[in-house]
Amino acid sequence: MKMPSPALPLACLALAVAVMAPLPFFVGNGTMRYLTDLFIIIAVAQLWNLLAGFGGVVSIGQHAFIGAGAYAFYGFTAHLGLHPFAAMALTVPFGALLSLPVFAILSRMRVAYFAIGSWVLAEVMMLAAGKLPGFGGGSGISLRPEIVRAFGARTPERIENIYWLSFAILSLVVLFIILVMHSRRGYALRAMRDNENAAMALGVNPVAVKAMLFVASGAMLSLLGALNTLQKLRINPSGSFSLTDWTVFIIFIVVIGGMGRIIGPVIGAVLFVLLRENLSDLGPVYMIVLGAAAIGMMLWEPGGIAALPQRWKDRRAARRTAPAPRLWRRALHFRDGAGRCGSAPRRARPTARSGAPRPGRW
């Protein structure tokens, strides 16, 4: 087995930086705000994908860290009187520290229960945020103008700076994921998605790796939460801890775009933002369409849009090798569901199409 080289994803990232970084010199404020939104969404989606697609850890509570980051940023500036830049930088260690006990509690639960457990914790944090003294209670509070002005005295200047800031953070997130996934730990992680013992054999403790990913993603989500507050100019429990914006949409974005590949969240987020332009007036119908698309994608190709080229390539290859006529009903579908995670022995089956996203391809 050989380690895939990180050269291609790194080259793609460098190309993206080369195109996106000078963009403010060419496009207007509206486009920049639009792209800033997109960058934040992609970054949050990348971090969810890092946990679910690469780590096999599904969280329905990542909005907790976005909200916590926003509240921490407000607290650091308004109550501790820190400079906004320092406050923003501090949300990173804050998020990391917060995610440690969260992971300690959640790691007691298996995959599916982990998901709901994370939701409970997010709910608790949101309710607690509404009770914090000095944070505006249930209705929230606006950022002070001088905090916002620190990122640019005039609006156009600010939009430009926040654009660069969010793109820089997105690039760092992607760089981090590329480097992690091409490290020994990342390699073990992919092995772990199939078999925890394989990871152990590689000398990597799966729980420790998951913890590291969880903490890293919590730290970066907090930073993104603070950044997002600069766009929204306000903190409040239901808005800052928005389940819909930061978990529901994000999950749909990753599932449709492609779980387990770095390009997946990018595809999903771009598609999402384009669809939102045109369909968000439809309200509930938009959500229903997204939900149905995600279910359809999970059933048809769990690897999402990003896996389609590979799927078509596989199919062409399979057609060339002329498979034996299939007289039997498809192997009973319990084959795909050996039950509880990891405990049932899995038969090595050399079938071409597996139900899970193929990790290891970007």
């Binding site: 090798t321 039997w328 009973l332």
Partner: protein
């Protein structure tokens, strides 16, 4: 004697990987046949092919004229194929008795001489005292008795026994095979898959040696020459 179960030209593949390449075999009522072969020769695939649990098959598996190939496992069990699976597969959440009764839920509903719990306990008296314990708390030999009892409760016409001697003490194996002999005398067709060649030849009327997904040698067990069988077994 016309055959009860006829497997002819059976091919079985799992995706790109083919495990059986045209296997032929017959069992008559009241007959014990042994299928022997090394690991990976295709013995388990034969069982899967008959039971319909896995893989894509081609060819024919007929039980008393009825084509089984293409049926789902529940239909195959109801048609009269009883399986004693490799590794026994006892359900830990079910008591000994419930494990056996589960068989009655799966099998042929109409049978002239249906198996009952009492008849199973007559066959394996060891189980009576332990019938309310969890199935997996019993010894390996007793678990094998549960697995056989469970398969019998489906009122099978053909009993498939996959590696029942694996990991058991010789005395226990002897007793289990003794009971199988009695069952065959009652008219049941029994197919025994074994890795232990000598044992298999002792208890069977006929044998099939499987190598690389085909029958490499077959004949009457009593006339089997050990050297030739070994050759067919290892493929030298």
């Amino acid at each position: 004697m016309s055959a009860l179960l006829t497997v002819s030209n059976l091919h079985l593949s799992y995706g790109q990987f083919a495990a059986l390449h045209g296997l032929d075999l017959e069992i008559g009522a009241g007959e014990i046949i042994a299928v022997i072969g090394a690991n990976g020769a295709g013995k388990s695939s034969l069982i899967r092919g008959i039971c319909g649990t896995e893989g894509q098959g081609r060819g024919s598996v007929r039980l008393d004229g009825q084509e089984l190939l293409g049926l789902a496992p529940p239909e195959i069990t109801r048609a009269g194929i009883g399986l004693v699976p490799e590794g026994r597969r006892i359900f830990p959440s079910l008591s000994v008795e419930e494990n056996i009764l589960l068989g009655a839920q799966l099998g042929r509903p109409h049978s002239d001489d249906p198996w009952t719990l009492d008849r199973i306990y007559d066959l394996f008296p060891d189980l009576v005292a332990k019938r309310h314990l969890s199935g997996t708390m019993l010894s390996g030999g007793q678990q094998q008795m549960i697995a056989i009892g469970r398969a019998l409760m489906t009122n099978p016409r053909v009993l498939l026994c996959d590696e029942i001697s694996l990991g058991l003490a010789p005395t226990i194996i002897g007793r289990l095979y003794e009971q199988l002999g009695r069952l065959a005398a009652g008219g049941l067709a029994i197919l025994v898959v074994e890795q232990a060649m000598r044992k298999a030849l002792q208890i069977s009327a006929r044998y099939y040696c499987v190598l690389e997904g085909r029958v490499s040698l077959s004949g009457l067990s009593a006339e089997a020459e050990e050297e030739r069988v070994a050759e067919a077994y290892f493929g030298r």
